[in-house]
């Protein structure tokens, strides 16, 4: 019984440390573009989608658009994939990725659509 408990505990400890390591590796902090430039890991930047215009990037390899973060830095975001639904109506966009040259290469885009479908609370 003792030995079995010990083995059990070892397995659980191993599992926890494995998950802990996986967690540490996949954490991506929320930063500004300036901080993102310094970072070597995948980071997330939340920005205002100022001109609401999405263009094609690199002859259709993906899309590009401009984001302005809270510090007012304006950066071109490029994404090797199709544009998420309704990005052109987004007010703010969260991009996860890293810098690639002067552009921010996004791996994932989260679009926040405020749209008329969410009524503000103060509209009574």
């Amino acid at each position: 019984m003792r030995r079995r408990h010990l083995i059990g505990i070892i397995i659980v400890v191993l599992a926890i440390s494995f998950c802990g390591m996986a967690l540490r590796d996949s954490l991506s902090p929320y930063v500004s573009f300036a901080e993102a430039r310094e970072s070597t890991k995948i980071v997330q930047v939340k920005g205002d989608f100022v001109d609401k215009k999405v263009s094609l990037w690199d002859e259709g390899r993906g899309i590009s658009f401009f984001l302005e973060d809270e510090e007012g830095t304006r950066v071109r975001v490029v994404y090797a994939g199709a544009a998420p639904d309704n990005i052109s109506h987004a007010t703010s966009v969260v991009v996860a990725g890293q810098y690639q040259g002067a552009d921010f290469l996004a791996e994932r885009i989260l679009v926040k659509c405020p749209s008329k479908y969410q009524v503000e609370g103060d509209r009574q």
Partner: protein, 738 residues
């Protein structure tokens, strides 16, 4: 007013029997009055039903003075989507939830022999849910009259919206019952008989949650064009965690019915399952995760009360469990690992552990925000961590099929060797598609092993301690296995799990995709396939269109719906037995690229493809007072054209440009003019017309995912039905056998 009053009265009527019961407990006397007061549950349920009917009524009759109706419904919605509007928002969802909770409460009340305090615990939770409905009431009204509503979010205008949310809420509501039974049993000091009573409820809740989740995944894949069925989004996770917890709970209950060693885990699992239901609701409804999810939800003031509710349920139930912990019977005899009960116990713990890991990942934004530096985890976290859990579960499934429920397995573990070809077959299958990576292939192999083990059946069900293995007893026990009624659902569900995980690994690890811009009518190659964009077909002008493609000679159509400023793209999917071709359009350009140009009489402009523009004259038109004209010379490839663009004065300080096209390609329009200088937009139609950005992907063996999900749904739902009707008899028979 009517709805609000109904909910308020329901709260009062739920409080009466709960209070009576509590007072009865503390004064240590079972009063007839306390018993009688339980009739109040019926009144409360009727009142909640009235509130539900009333909300349905005001939605269907377009009473837009109600804020909820205004926010989620509109005149022109079809009956189907008006129904869906009921649970499109938070307020209606909570009302639906508490309605299902109260109905289940009534069903629970009809059961005999449940621990006497069960209903009071269940009622207590109902009070909390009703409080939320009171605070976030769907019956708030505007001061002024509204003529039409905002309407249902077009993304939600889909038939799946009818079934997906209610099923999840049924699962959520269902998991309150095992918790109530567990707490009731603790108060009643009868620690064992509640397991049998909790099992059908847990199975039903698990099935409802599972089916709801699978429908959601299918919806995301089929309609929303998210490119997949699962994205580890917090909203998805918040229903997955309770599902995993419910799975653990069901297996703990199944083991606990036979062996005392699973009693404490079963108690813990009831708490874990319901607390994660509430916690998931808190995470997704409080707005904390709004920057971390593709689902849109905002903080509408329910955050604090939900957080409080999570804390209260966790604290109260844990305290009660701790108080009684020492009294819960424990296993007397030493337990061998080589029996099915032990493995089921471990398997359930692994399921719960996976639930904890997903919980941790989903909570990182919350935890790190509290620490000051908000971070979230990538999907890779879940993909990496879930693999070992899947591997262990399949290993346990394979071994468990060899072992008897009780006693110790006498045979050799070599019996698993005949199953190895199946493992290799699945690995080979994965390798073809091509899945690479040792961990993926390992899990595939173990899935194959577990799958084969399900078909092989137990070597012998019982008595394996003394009986030597020979073919005769083996066959006898196998026929007995086949006849056992409760076995089949679990068999289907376990086979389904093997299919599901195999499908998930192959379809995601061997997923290929490519993004490209297609030009109208031009053949291009993506992923080695010929693809032609044929343009946009208008089904209902300005509302329903579809993009038409030819992929490898076959037509593919991608619908697109327009709802004022909202465009919903749907993917075109060409189904195949082994592979789906998935084409997701995302962005069209039919306006062309516009460039703004300041042009003076002295300068010239060189545009795209060598277009040259010169300004020759600017002035006021004589025919139209206040309007401005500009004369432009355009030169392209040695050809020369002259055009006159106008800025027509419309009165009241407004101007309208009239565009002119040169060389059938460049659209010129005047934005502003001053003497000797104009601001122009030049729109190159060639860059624009008929361009579409698409993502083409191949989803190999995605059908295994649907098949697995379907089998799990059938298995769990069937088990729930079976346990409800035939459980006690079957169990006692087995107990006798043991």
């Amino acid at each position: 007013m009517i709805g609000f009053v109904a909910v308020f009265l329901a709260l009062a009527f739920t409080a009466v029997p709960v209070a009576a019961r509590s007072i009865g407990r503390f004064s240590r006397q079972e009063t007839a009055r306390g018993k009688k007061s339980e009739a109040c549950y019926y009144i409360a349920a009727a009142l909640i039903a009235a509130a539900v009917l009333y909300l349905g009524y005001i939605i269907l009759t377009d009473q837009f003075q109600y804020r909820y109706v205004y926010s989620y419904s509109a005149k022109n919605l079809t009956l189907l989507y008006k129904t869906a509007a009921f649970w499109a928002g938070q307020e209606g969802s909570f009302l639906l939830w508490v309605f299902l909770h109260s109905i289940l409460g009534l069903l629970l009340k009809r059961k005999k022999n449940i621990p006497p305090d069960t209903l009071a615990v269940h009622g207590l939770i109902q009070i909390a849910l009703l409080l939320i409905v009171l605070i976030k009431s769907p019956f708030m009204m505007f001061a002024q009259v509204m003529t039409d509503g905002v309407g249902l979010n077009p993304l939600l205008q889909n038939p799946w919206m009818i079934s997906h949310p209610p099923l999840l809420f049924l699962g959520y509501a269902g998991l309150a019952v095992p918790l109530a039974l567990a707490m009731g049993s603790l108060l009643d000091r009868d620690y064992e008989s509640w397991l049998k009573q909790a099992l059908p409820w847990s199975l039903a809740a698990w099935a409802a949650l599972g089916i709801g989740i699978f429908i959601g995944g299918f919806w995301a894949y089929e309609v929303l064009g998210w490119g997949g069925y699962w994205a580890w989004d917090p909203v998805e996770n918040s229903s997955l965690i309770p599902w995993l917890a419910a799975g653990a709970l069901v297996h703990f209950l199944l083991t606990g019915i036979r062996r005392k060693m699973a009693l404490k885990p079963a108690y813990l699992a009831t708490i874990f399952a319901y607390v994660t239901v509430l916690y998931g609701t808190f995470l997704t409804r409080s707005g904390i995760l709004s920057d971390f999810s593709t689902h849109s939800f905002s903080n509408q003031g329910t955050g604090q009360i939900l957080a409080l509710l999570v804390m209260l349920v966790l604290l109260l139930s844990s305290l009660l469990l701790i108080a009684k912990w020492q009294n819960i019977p424990r296993e007397e005899n030493p337990t061998s690992l080589q029996n099915r009960a032990s493995l089921t116990l471990i398997g359930a713990a692994v399921l719960a552990g996976l639930g904890l890991v997903v919980l941790l990942g989903t909570s990182t934004p919350l935890i790190t925000s509290l620490l000051g530096n908000p971070q979230s985890v990538n999907a890779s976290f879940y993909n990496i961590t879930s693999l070992p859990f899947a591997a262990i579960i399949f290993l346990l499934l394979s071994l468990a099929s060899l072992f008897p429920w009780k006693g110790q397995y006498g045979g050799s573990l070599k019996r698993i060797l005949p199953l190895l070809p199946a493992a290799l077959a699945v690995i080979a299958l994965g390798f073809i598609f091509p899945v690479r990576g040792p961990f993926n292939l390992l899990v595939l192999g173990l899935a194959g092993l577990a799958l084969a083990a399900q078909f092989a059946g137990p070597e012998k069900s019982f008595n394996s301690l003394d009986a030597p293995s020979n073919n005769k007893t083996k066959r006898a026990s196998q026929t007995r296995t086949a006849k056992r009624p409760v076995k089949r659902p679990s068999l289907i569900a376990h086979i389904g799990l093997c299919c599901l995980v195999t499908g998930v690994i192959i379809s995601s690890a061997a997923d290929r995709k490519e993004t490209a811009v297609l030009t109208l009518g031009e053949e291009q190659f993506m992923l080695g396939r010929s693809i032609v964009y044929l343009g946009e077909e208008h089904l209902i002008e300005g509302k329903e269109h579809r993009y038409s493609f030819i992929v490898d000679g076959a037509s593919m159509l991608a619908p697109v719906r327009m709802e004022q400023d909202f465009t919903v793209y749907e993917p075109a999917i060409k189904r195949g037995l082994f592979k789906d071709i998935y084409l997701a359009p995302s962005l069209t350009q039919d306006h062309g690229e516009e460039t703004y140009t300041l042009l003076s009489e002295k300068s010239k402009l060189i545009g795209t493809d060598g277009l040259e523009l010169r300004l020759t004259d600017v002035g006021m038109t004589e025919a139209m007072p206040g309007s401005v004209y500009a004369t432009l010379q355009a030169i392209l490839n040695g050809e020369y054209q002259e055009v006159r663009v106008l800025l027509v004065y419309m009165g009241e300080g407004k101007y309208e440009p009239t565009a002119q096209t040169v060389f059938d390609r460049y659209e010129l329009s005047l934005v502003a003019a001053e003497p000797g200088e104009v601001l122009l937009t030049v729109c190159d139609q060639k860059t624009a017309a008929g361009l579409i950005l698409v993502e083409l992907s191949e989803k190999p063996l995605i059908n295994l995912v649907w098949l697995g999900a379907l089998m799990i749904s059938i298995g769990t739902a069937w088990a729930a039905g079976k346990r409800r009707t035939s459980f006690p008899k079957a169990l006692f028979e087995r107990k006798a056998e043991l």
